[in-house]
Amino acid sequence: MKNFSSFPLSAATSLWLSAFASSSFSQGPAPKENRPYQVQEIPMPKGIAPEIGGLGFTPSGKLVVVTRRTGVLMATPKATPAEMQWTRFSDQSLHNSNGLFVISDREILVSQMPELTRLIDHDGDGIADEYRTEASFNLSGAYHEVTAGPVPDGAGGFFIALNTASHSGFTLEHTRGTFSPVSRRGRNFASVPYRGWVMHWNPKTGLTPWAKGFRSPNGIQTGPDGALWVTDNQGDFRTTNPLYHVRKGLFYGHPSSLVWDPEYVKNQPDRDPLKQPMEELDAMRTPAAVLFPYGFSRSPAEPLFDLTGGKFGPFTGQMLVADAAAPRIIRVMLENVDDTLQGACVDFYSNDGLRNGSNRMTFSPDGTELYVGQTMREWAGPMEGLQRIQFKGGPVFEVLHMHLLKDGFELEFTAPVDPGTGEKPEAFETDTYWYKYSSNYGGPETAPRHTRPAQVQWSQDRRKVQLTYPHMEPQRVMRVVLSGLKSETQPLGHTMVAYTINKLAK
């Protein structure tokens, strides 16, 4: 309780509310039939629990769906979803399968709680007849010890993220893997190796630990440049929901996994990271590339890069992130600042038919449709099913990029912004805050401050605006709410952008 009195909690919260409560980030949407992005429900066959753990497409264009307890299904997409003919590639109940990678029409990799499994259809009848265990994952017995991935490393191998256990679950008398009483303590814990790690697997080297310090990394993806990205969930040692750029060997802030790092316990077999001073842990950790405002994102899941070359609208190359506890898909605008990948987040799609619980996503082979699979067990209630978002064309008016400048930001738009709108600093109300690294379960935005640009400078073509602020500092999130901006055809679709400044622009 003591540590809370140091936070101006109510102030932070009320500021937060004032930024969001007034609008749902969206100004007067266009009539439904004209909207560029539209959601469609895709019914699954009876007897299938539509809790989607993984999505992909086969080379022949079949959608592959792995469910968390009713096996693997395939169907060729149809314009009318109800006409899709589903077949069962596997009718087995895999253990909470939460990720897949399609090798071919006859072979897929699926992660389930105890292992990475290769499902192979040898005789070509459309049904897997071999379940080959490629790698085993340890389990203490908690429901929370799920997987994310596999995602390819570009060189024949794969990355898989392993969740920690939660204290809301339990530990078994006989654990799968060596039990460590030291790392059994904790709100979320890693009492068997390698919970809380991102693992690497390839057939030659087997399963090896790659990076540590994760809590509930329910989203993993490799980018077109080979960079590895992981989302994690707010909780202990996670003041809000982060997106991490993951590099080999680094530590990402949740300490329980450290007991399985030979370097960390060298000469100190009983070293307890939970007893290590926060300042030391803070100095060891790699910060998040993006800190999602809590509430805007409640439980980020799979990131996915738009590599459709414009088939899915103007956001080619950018990352979308599913959110499993809000009816929302987030868009992330990344950039390299002083050798650090960081950037901003903005709403891509929310409400308007999209279900809560979005967990996994994949693009259709032609790039015009984003398939979204939903599931969210336990605390967030039932939110499960399969949907797709179609890009119908037509004008899109959004923030396209947000670039950090030495003294502010440059915002780029997908269409020219009408003169007479966005002219004044009041159109760019900004609040800045940080998230203090804390062992506690979540936490408020700290040291919040309200500001606005001192100067607003539009480009000749009205597609870019430079916002100059009186003061810029690192270790801040700057959240800008844009008001009144219009294009020739419509008001700005999503009006809140939040940029995480780890490094200032030089």
Binding site: F7, A49, Q92, Q112, G141, T171, F237, P327, E378
Partner: protein, 426 residues
């Protein structure tokens, strides 16, 4: 006073035309409580009403209906109490569910229980005599950031404004799981067995069969806010002196890497991918998954996740792994192929690779068929001392056929489930 309930009913039916608030703006009849209707924006973790006014020192009747798919409560607080209340909630851990996330700290004016979806609760209380802004929040973990509002207490005679509503609209989407028609007691058939990877029950097996497992220990509960273990007061049974003792979470029984196979009501077994051996077999049903998957599709999903064994055991493994010698390394599970008889498991012990199928009989007993795919040494099945009377080993082409007679046991009473939050009965 007679007209008031009718009036409210009318308003509820036509909320778009008239605000229920309109009634509140006028002081209720003398002695009648001011009625407040509080709803949830389903899925958005927000109260529908974000502000309402009451008169100081007057009775209030607040009806909180949870139309969301998540559990929620409503806690009305004194103006400065929130940081301490939220801090206390954050330290409640497992007790949170049991105590409805209502901590035992000062500053709480009124609180509902943790309401499951579709439940409602009526709170009656006297509004504070002090004018001011009194926040209300849902303290279910993660909800208080967004699920909040404020009760404004106004001086007697002051004008009460209409409640303020959140502007967000909720688009209803289908509960696809609720409509999926899946069974929580899945079954295969004798001819076409059903394979399930799951946490499986451990029906008090001989600990020797878990040779290659870690030894899970009871653990002391821990508070992330203070980074300390959680203790509670307890009276020493002999001296009667109160002392602080750690709150312990017991290790539980279960099998983590299990493969459960069902041949219909006639026969089921659990084969373990860690020990690479048959652990137990039973007849009369398969697994009741309600404790893992929730009582009904669409209901709040529980966190108790070891399914219950239905029927009666006919075999329990004991002793050392029958194919392993004492110097052997831990077995390595390689996967399985689906044959018409069911899965054929494949595993490696040292340099030896084995294939193993379980072949049940409808009426009595089952056979374990083992072939050695590669590696040195002849196949030897070391019969566990407990199995000598009921097990017969005979050589087969490239392997062994081990016949087991049923050893029926009385049906087990359902094992006491771990002391989990009683989420379905808040």
């Amino acid at each position: 006073m007679n007209s008031l309930p009718c009036f409210l009913t009318l308003l509820t039916l036509a909320p778009a035309i008239l605000h229920p608030a309109a009634a509140l703006a006028q002081a209720p009849a003398k002695g009648e409580p001011a009625k407040v209707s509080m709803k949830v924006l389903p899925g958005l973790i927000k109260f529908e009403t974000t502000r309402f006014d009451v008169t100081a020192g007057a009775p209030v009747e607040l009806t909180f209906s949870n139309d969301c798919v998540m559990p929620h409560n409503l806690i009305l607080l004194k103006p400065e109490a929130e940081p301490a209340v939220i801090a206390a909630v954050n330290t409640m851990g497992l007790e949170g569910m049991e105590k409805h996330f209502v901590p035992d700290v000062p500053g709480i004016i009124a609180a509902t229980k943790l309401l499951a979806p579709t439940q409602k609760e009526i709170l009656t209380f006297n509004s504070p005599s002090q004018e001011g802004e009194y926040p209300y929040v849902c303290t279910f973990p993660g909800h208080w950031f967004t699920m909040r509002g404020v009760m404004r207490v106004r001086a007697a005679g002051a004008k009460l404004e209409s409640p303020q509503k959140s502007g967000e609209k909720v688009v209803k989407v289908e509960d696809a799981l609720k409509n999926s028609g899946i069974s929580h007691t899945p079954l295969g058939t004798f001819e076409k067995p059903f394979v399930m990877r799951t946490f499986a029950p451990d029906p008090n097996l001989d600990p020797a069969v878990f040779k290659n497992h870690g030894v899970g220990k009871d653990a002391v509960k821990y508070d992330p806010a203070t980074r300390l273990d959680i203790t509670q007061a307890e009276k020493d049974p002999t001296t009667g002196v109160e002392r602080q003792v750690p709150v312990v979470r017991k290790a539980e029984k279960g099998v983590a890497g299990a493969i459960a196979v069902n041949h219909g009501p006639e026969f089921s077994y659990v084969w373990d991918s860690t020990e690479c051996r048959l652990l137990y077999a039973w007849r009369g049903g398969f697994l009741d998954m309600n404790s893992y998957w929730g009582k009904e599709p669409g209901a709040f999903r529980p966190k108790m996740y070891i399914p219950l064994l239905m029927g009666y055991l006919v075999y329990r493994a004991s002793g050392a792994m029958p194919l392993a010698e004492s110097a052997d390394p831990a077995p390595l599970f390689l996967g399985y192929r689906m044959l018409h008889t069911g899965p054929e498991f494949r595993y490696q012990i040292g340099t030896r690779i084995y294939r193993e199928s379980i072949l049940p009989s409808i009426t009595d007993g089952f056979k374990v068929k083992v072939t050695q795919e590669s590696g040195p040494a002849a196949l030897t099945w070391n019969v566990s001392p407990a199995d000598t009377a009921s097990v017969k080993v005979q050589p087969e082409k490239e392997g062994l056929l081990v016949s087991f007679k049923d050893r029926p046991e009385p049906p087990q009473s359902p094992p006491a489930q771990p002391s989990e939050p009683k989420s379905k009965k808040p």
